[in-house]
């Protein structure tokens, strides 16, 4: 079964865009959550991940901070 992928991002963050580009290129479906537009989502991200920097990528409950391509590949198994 496909893993559930959430990308917490802001519209202005270059690495969020790179991360989303990377997921798209690899045919990974994800939900994009713009935390700059939704304060509740922002606090949810901070609470769940303990992180205050975007992008935060959540894959089946596992959190990856920043655009860490190797880590994303490893967790997704691609």
């Amino acid at each position: 079964m496909a893993k559930k992928v959430l990308v917490y991002s802001t519209a202005t963050c270059p690495f969020c865009i790179r991360a989303k580009q990377f997921l798209k290129e690899n045919g990974i479906q994800f939900e994009d959550i713009d935390v700059s537009a939704d304060e509740n989502k922002a606090s949810e991200m901070i609470k769940k991940s303990g992180q205050m920097g975007v992008p935060v990528i959540e894959i089946d409950g596992e959190f990856i901070v920043g655009f860490d391509k190797e880590k994303i590949k490893e967790v997704l198994g691609i």
């Binding site: 690495f15 935390v35 922002a42 901070i46």
Partner: protein
């Protein structure tokens, strides 16, 4: 043994790779990331051929161009040592060791760190080097921008619209940067500028809660929830121990991109070439690749 190893894959390294591929060299790119500072950039309006393009989009274009030639790229791998012994140049990373006849150092620059206790611990926990990225997370909060140049002012201008209050902690007697930006910051009414002030530590529990600021020998705790470090850039050149650098740590090159060690070239923001621009870095990368090609032919 490779003909060439390129260290870095920003505009300089990627352009060098395109040229090296077209010369059919046996080569390798070793890099921490793709795009370097270009990937961090917002809007770019001065790269010839593109009246407007964003940093991430230009990075994607660069990468696509390089991948077209099936260039072998060791990504997420950082050079930790570069040494020439006899005719062989050895590049060491955390994952392995590679040997080559020539090398191009195109490792660029990275954000300068404060170098104070708490900085590493609270990175991404209230402390950040990218106001553009993380600024929106600090809506309604009290934040501090560390620095006094254009990048600090730019961060303050962005944060003024989001945060409740912005402190600028500047370690010189007055703010630098462009007058037009300074005026905007000073007029805003929600920015407090602290001159001659140095951050000595970052404090907090799970997240940042305060910074300690030294002002003329007197220390005070400033309660804030966000720290934006904007104190300029440093070249990624420490691994190249035998290569001559200037006082800023930039690698000294001549007009052929040669360093003091024959066969080792450098290009882009890591060098002492004046003006740090994407278009310049790309041009320097092509020069360095052509210089390495000529050097190989002379062996």
């Amino acid at each position: 043994m490779y003909d060439l190893i390129i260290i870095g894959a920003g505009p300089a390294g990627i352009t060098a790779a395109v040229y090296a591929a077209r010369k059919r060299l046996e080569f390798l790119v070793i890099t921490a990331d793709i795009g370097g500072q270009t990937a961090w950039s917002g809007d770019i309006e001065n790269y010839t051929g593109y009246q407007f393009i964003t940093g991430p989009d230009l990075t994607a274009k660069f990468e696509e161009h390089m991948r077209k030639y099936k260039v072998p790229v060791k990504e997420s791998e950082e050079a930790v040592e570069l040494k020439k012994t006899g005719d062989a140049i050895r590049v060491k990373t955390a994952k392995g060791e590679y040997e080559s006849k020539t090398a191009i150092i195109a490792s660029g620059k990275k954000s300068r760190e404060l170098g104070v206790p708490g900085e590493r611990e609270f990175k991404n926990k209230g402390l950040t080097y990218c106001a553009t990225c993380d600024g929106p997370l600090f809506s309604g909060k009290v934040v501090a921008v560390i620095g006094g140049g254009n990048s600090a002012l730019d961060a303050a201008l962005q944060l003024m619209r989001i945060a409740k209050h912005v402190y600028i902690v500047n370690n010189t007697p007055r703010l630098g940067g462009d007058a037009i930006m300074r005026e905007k910051v000073e007029r805003s009414g929600i920015v407090t500028v602290m001159n001659d002030a140095r951050v000595t530590s970052v404090l907090g529990d799970k997240m940042v809660r305060a910074i300690k600021v030294d002002k003329a020998g007197k220390e005070e705790d400033l309660s804030i929830q966000g720290v934006f470090v904007e104190i300029g850039l440093v070249p990624n050149s420490a691994f190249a121990k035998d290569i001559k650098k200037n006082e800023y740590g930039e690698i000294i090159v001549n007009c052929k991109n040669e360093t003091n060690v024959p066969g080792i070239f450098a290009a882009g923001d890591v060098t002492d070439v004046p003006e740090k621009q994407i278009v310049i870095a790309a041009g320097e990368g092509s020069k360095a690749a052509l210089a390495a090609f000529k050097y190989l032919n002379s062996l």
